[in-house]
């Protein structure tokens, strides 16, 4: 899924000097190796998803998506992402702001903590929630007294999704904001701006492309998450199945066309994510290019 795309740094291709270039045969060998690899491991499976999805024709494809359980899964996925992504935007921006614009004790620890979901297996993440909030957990009696269901219900799924996707935005913003430094914010403060005005009018416009980029990756991962959600969901059809879980069940029950129809939705999401991502990168480069062009025209 799109979640595996690396989020660190938007590399701007440096100009390649002749000195570091390899000879022609070596270059061809390397390029064809890379292409063959990409074809076998990425392009071919992607094509297979779509060809399987449509193997029994449009009619079946359409029916598979309109089936009530599939529809419920789509809805739950949208709800989970719709809650997790905004919360992670708030958290990510706040964390990146704190880390890059202030110096405080335990900063390094906070950075490490943000990376935790990348380091921990999603299944473990899901399990910790089951242990904490499940029927053997320390919070269970209080939760059941107040009739709050977390595990095997939507709140657990949302929480697992938040956990897994929470580094994406902070990780995208931290290097960007570090590079920009604090002098613009200081300038705004000396001019009398409040903290909120400084954030809204100075910081936010400076990070908007990075933020959008982070949101897109975060969203892709939130909708595609399998492991952590699988543990806390309980796989109740029509209730606690997200799209990835629904696909697994359909597949295990030999409804191949239905499974691949839903899978094609996620694949489409991945393609759209990549498209928007490159569009954003292009737009940012283009803006810089225009600015530098304009600067060159000046005497």
């Amino acid at each position: 899924m799109a979640g595996t795309i690396t989020t660190l740094g938007n590399s701007h291709a440096p100009r390649i000097s002749n000195v570091t270039q390899e000879s022609r045969p070596v270059r061809w060998l390397l390029i064809s190796l890379a292409i063959a690899f990409l074809f076998l491991f990425l392009a071919l499976p992607l094509a297979a998803v779509f060809s399987e999805a449509f193997s029994r024709g449009w009619q079946v494809y359409w029916q598979a998506l309109q089936e009530p359980d599939a529809w419920a899964a789509i809805r739950l996925t949208l709800i989970a992402a719709g809650i997790a992504v905004p919360l992670n935007v708030i958290f990510g921006v706040a964390a990146a702001w704190a880390i890059t614009k202030f110096s405080f004790r335990g900063k390094q620890f906070l950075i490490t903590l943000i990376d935790l979901p990348f380091a921990v297996s999603p299944v473990i993440a899901g399990l910790t929630y089951v242990l904490l909030y499940g029927s053997h957990g320390p919070l269970w009696s209080w939760l059941s007294e107040h009739d709050i269901k977390i595990i095997f219900a939507t709140p657990g799924i949302v929480m697992a999704t938040i956990f897994v996707t929470f580094p994406f935005i902070a990780r995208e913003l931290i290097p960007l904001m570090e590079e920009q430094g604090t002098s613009h914010e200081e300038a705004a403060l000396t001019l009398g701006a409040s903290g909120w005005q400084t954030f809204r009018r100075i910081t936010l416009p400076a990070i908007k492309w990075g933020l959008l980029y982070g949101i897109i990756l975060c969203n892709a991962r939130a909708m595609g998450e399998f492991g952590a959600v699988s543990v806390v969901s309980g796989h109740i059809r029509g209730q606690t199945n997200t799209l990835p879980l629904h696909i697994e069940i359909a597949y295990n029950e030999y409804h191949f066309a239905a499974a691949f129809a839903c899978a094609s939705l996620l694949a489409l999401l991945a393609l759209a994510t990549l498209f928007v991502k490159s569009l954003l990168e292009w737009k940012e480069r283009h803006e810089r290019f225009l600015a530098s062009q304009a600067a060159r025209k000046e005497p």
């Binding site: 200081e186 300038a187 403060l189 000396t190 009398g192 701006a193 009018r201 400076a206 600015a291 304009a294």
Partner: protein, 348 residues
Amino acid sequence: MSIEVRHLSKHFGAFQALDNISLGFPSGELVALLGPSGCGKTTLLRIIAGLEYADSGQVLFHGEDSTGKHVRDRNVGFVFQHYALFRHMTVFDNVAFGLSVRPRSLRPSKADIARRVHELLELVQLDWLADRYPDQLSGGQRQRIALARALAVEPRVLLLDEPFGALDAKVRKDLRQWLRRLHDELHITSIFVTHDQEEAMEVADRIVVIHQGRIEQIGTPDEIQQQSASPFVCEFIGQTNRFEGNIKDGWADFGDFRLETPPRLQESAKLAGYVRPHEITLHNQASDNSIPVTVASLKRLGPIIRLGLVSTSGQDIHVELASQQLPKDTEVGARLFATPIQAQLFAV
């Protein structure tokens, strides 16, 4: 608006940036904080602005204690070394920013803001750039816009952190003369930080020389240059020749030459004498107050000639002369006699 700081100290970890600094900035003056990099001058400026807080000590604006006041309530104009213009805003919006973020009750109307911005852009002579973005401006233009932006909020004091540090030599010279004229027009109390002694000499009414977090000397450019308070100041504010000697019979004796001693220096103390390159004359004939030297290098810079001399004892001596003062037929390798006219003397 006068500014005063009392007993300011500041540490960064184990590094002492400021060590018990007390200092007054009289109203309407343009004062330079001069010193080598890392001496604490920028820290002092940022503490006055409220961008940094001191470990101890006070900052007073017009006699009123402002030590704990937030930067946005201090009403200072701050100009950054790298301009810190808002890249996503036009020049107009940059200058208007300070007025547009005021609370609604204090905010001027749109038309008033526009009028004020154009006034300021005219003041910095860049009205024709109002619709440009900062990326489209040259360094000198950006710094002038940054200054207009700082002035827009009618600050009580203007603080400039190495304002010309990122500019090339020609622009830097133009801009500092321009800043001096602007200050003469506005008379706003201003402090600027620089490590360039020439810049400080040219622009400032008074100079504060800072070294290792302490004040070495406060004075007018002439005082700093001609009555340096310490060997450090002497060496820092321009090229100079150091001679070592001691006091004999009431005279400062440097072996080859001797000079009158001020009464403050005691008999037989060890002395360091600093002689500036233009305080030495050259002759073909020896006198009882001259150093025999050989010309090692000779450079003509327009009307001025710069010589590198080596004394018989092996010391390098730098001399600057008007070309008509150079003894005839002087060339590299020639033997001459150098006479220091005056020196600044310090007991060491």
